[in-house]
Every structure is written in C-alpha cells, then in structure tokens.
Symmetry: C2
Subunit: 232 residues, 2 copies
C-alpha cells in the first residue's frame, strides 16, 4: 500500500477490493473453475511458464488466461498463439491487477467462451513483488515465482508475497551454475515465512521441475471440479 494514502483509506480500499475478489471467486465457483493468481518480479518468467503450462495441459484441461500488463499486449499475443482465450487488461499506471479489473476480464471471458466448460483460469499479474500480494482478484491459489537470478534474500525483503503464496516456483534453475546462489538458502528463507507453501524449483528452458508443477496444477483443478451429476 502507498503510505501516502492514510491508514483508514488504505483499509477501506483493501476491504472494497476483498469484496470484489469474493464476488469474482463466487463466479468461478459457480462455474466449477479454478483460478490462479500468478505473481512475481518483472522478468522472473511468468509468461514462459504459462506458455509451457498451456502447451502441456491444454489437451486435457479447458484453459483461459487473464493477462495483466501496465501497457502493451506483448504477453497476451504470445499466449494467444496457443489457441485459447486470452483477455488482456492494461492497468495503465496501476502497479497491480485488482478485483474490479479482473471482474471486467471475467465478463469478457463470458462473451468469448463457454465459461461453464472452463477448468482453469490463469491470471498473470503485473510484474511486481509488492502490491499484487495485497490485492486478491478472486483466485483460489496464489502462485509466486522467484528467479534464482534475484538472490536468496528476496523472501526476507518482500515478505508479504512469500507469506501468502500457495505455490512458489523457483525459476531459471538452469542458470545456477553461473550464479553465486544457494537454492537451499532460498528454501530456508521461504520456510521462515511460510511453512505450508509447495516449493518447486523449475527451468522453463531445460524442463526441470515442470512435471511436478503440472501435477500440482492437476490436483488443484481436480479438487474444485463440480461432481458429475448422476444420470439415474
């Protein structure tokens, strides 16, 4: 939160956002759809992770993306090549997606696809390790990415993101040989803040760890799918 906004106003903003997020989640629940909020610093590899995930899972799950960027549709255009619905939201000067923006995305999704048939909506947030963690958008799980190039200390310095993550993907592990980085120290620092999160080291380039991530995605989706109504 911007500290220049006074505390009461800040609380009201977050409260109003939370109501909007709960409303979005109710939409997703009514559809039997799982929603992930994918967050990280700029350049940690969110879009390439989504590319790999769509490629791997689009034949077994019905997927859609809500793609947040301050400006441009560069990432949305990359993902549209996968042939799935991708709704682009330009946040303008805003440093994060909020529930209201994602509500707009949900209504666009309803226009362009059979929302009832979707299994998973992936929301790619603006690249920012701070504010997206505070503004829920209606997700069922928060996915945080931390690139090994960012350093071991980031969980300690940006704790809100790492405290709230359900799954942390430690990305670009193919670069470890060229860095002075200790993967164990990243794990240790995250565990100080968040004992529950699933932590998966991955490389979109080499493919390492991606199978474990896809399995985690499948489990999350299976948990929330509507039970098949018996025909007799």
């Amino acid at each position: 939160m911007h500290q220049t906004v006074d505390a009461a106003l800040g609380i009201n903003l977050l409260h109003a956002n939370q109501e909007g997020a709960d409303h979005n989640r109710a939409h997703f629940d009514a559809w039997g759809v799982t929603c992930f909020n994918v967050m990280s610093s700029p350049g940690a590899g969110k879009t390439v992770l989504l590319e790999r995930t769509l490629t791997a899972l689009k034949d077994e799950l019905n997927l859609a993306v809500i793609e947040g960027d301050m400006t441009t549709e560069l990432d949305a255009d990359r993902l549209r090549k996968q042939g799935i619905p991708v709704i682009a939201i330009n946040t303008g000067r805003s440093c994060h997606l909020d529930a209201q923006m994602v509500a707009g995305g949900i209504h666009q999704l309803e226009q362009c696809t059979d929302s009832q048939s979707l299994d998973l909506v992936l929301v790619e947030n603006v690249g920012n390790l701070v504010c997206p963690a505070e503004f829920e958008v209606g997700e069922h799980a928060k996915i945080a990415l931390l690139s090994v190039t960012e350093g071991e200390d980031k969980p300690l310095k940006y704790p809100v993101m790492f405290q709230s993550a359900d799954c942390l993907l430690v990305t670009k592990i193919d670069l470890i040989p060229y860095l002075e980085i200790n993967l164990e120290q990243i794990h240790y620092n995250v565990r100080q803040l968040n004992p529950q999160a699933t932590i998966i080291p991955v490389s979109a380039r080499s493919g390492a760890g991606l199978a474990q991530w896809f399995d985690w995605v499948r489990q999350q989706v299976a948990q929330r799918q509507r039970p098949v109504v018996s025909s007799h």
Copy 2:
C-alpha cells in the same frame, strides 16, 4: 498509482509528494550535494552496484546512502561495511520510497554526519519497476537498472521507469552467454521511449562498464558542487 484510488486523490497525492521532493532537493542544493534515486526490479543488482560504487569512489567523494526496503536492514548492513553513513528506511507495506520518508532520512543524516561536506547521497529505492518512477524523492538524477535476465521487453512493458531515467545501467552482462538475450534490442526498446538517457551495460562481477559509470557519477557531482569561495 493504485487505480482504486480515484483520479483526483491520485493527482493530489502526487502533487503533495512533488512539493515534498522539491523541498528535499532544496536541502541538497543548499548543501551542494547531488542526490541519485536508484531504482529497479527486485534483484537487478542495486545493492551490489552501490557496493562497487562506494568502494571505488569513497576516497575521492564524501558519500552517504539512504536505503529503502519494505523490511529488514540486510542491504543497509551490507553498505555500512564501507564505513560511510547509511540511513535505513523500512517502508512497511509501501512499495516505494516517497518524499516524506526521504525527508526523514535527510534529517537523520544531519544528525550523524556533516551534511555540508557531503558530495553525493545515493537513495536506494524499494525493488519495484512501477511506482518508484512516479514518486520523486528530491533526486537530481534517476538511475534505473535493468538486468539482462529480465528480458528485452521490459522497457516497453514498464515505460514510466524507462522514460524518466537519466542513466540506465543494463546489469549482469556477464550472464549474456547463458541467455537468449539481445543487448541491441534492449538499447532499441529504451531509445523508443527515451532518446536522452545515458545507457551503460555493466557487470558488477566482471567489472565491465563500471569505469564508465564511475565517470558519469563524477561528472554529475562536479556539475553541482558549490564553487569554492575565493579567500581574498
């Protein structure tokens, strides 16, 4: 800016911040001190750049640091090993330093050092490629860092930072052989937004480009130093 703050309030916040920034700059000008606002994504290498800069220049310039982090004094403690004044500001939940926070840092600096004798105050902002670009803190120059690991598209996707930078340091160039990255494309993308900025590719690890950066710092400081008052 958070779009959930209405437009008028947003403008008022930025206006009040600008007044505070101008006040801070008047302090620096009265001291004959240059101030840099050093900004980037988390993990782009701001702190190691400052370490190298302090090591190289502390014998010829009087330096101080105002170190912004959401939480912890990890970076401040790293820089204190250089034996110069380092004021730590924890921003709490705020995603950027603002002029009021830096005013507090300036007053602390006045307590712990002879502020009149300083040449350069380096403000290290919170790691965030969005909001710090909008909240001036009283700096004379904005220094933006972009790591080659973040990708060529970041200037296009986070334009405010790259439009406003006086000097852009493209960092971690020692990693280029291990990445699919084109340095010329980064230059091209920045130039679309900002024809004037000085662009210096650097590696804190190999030392490449640092001599050019130190010269740029020296020139900036020399421009603003008070003329020596003649003794006769």
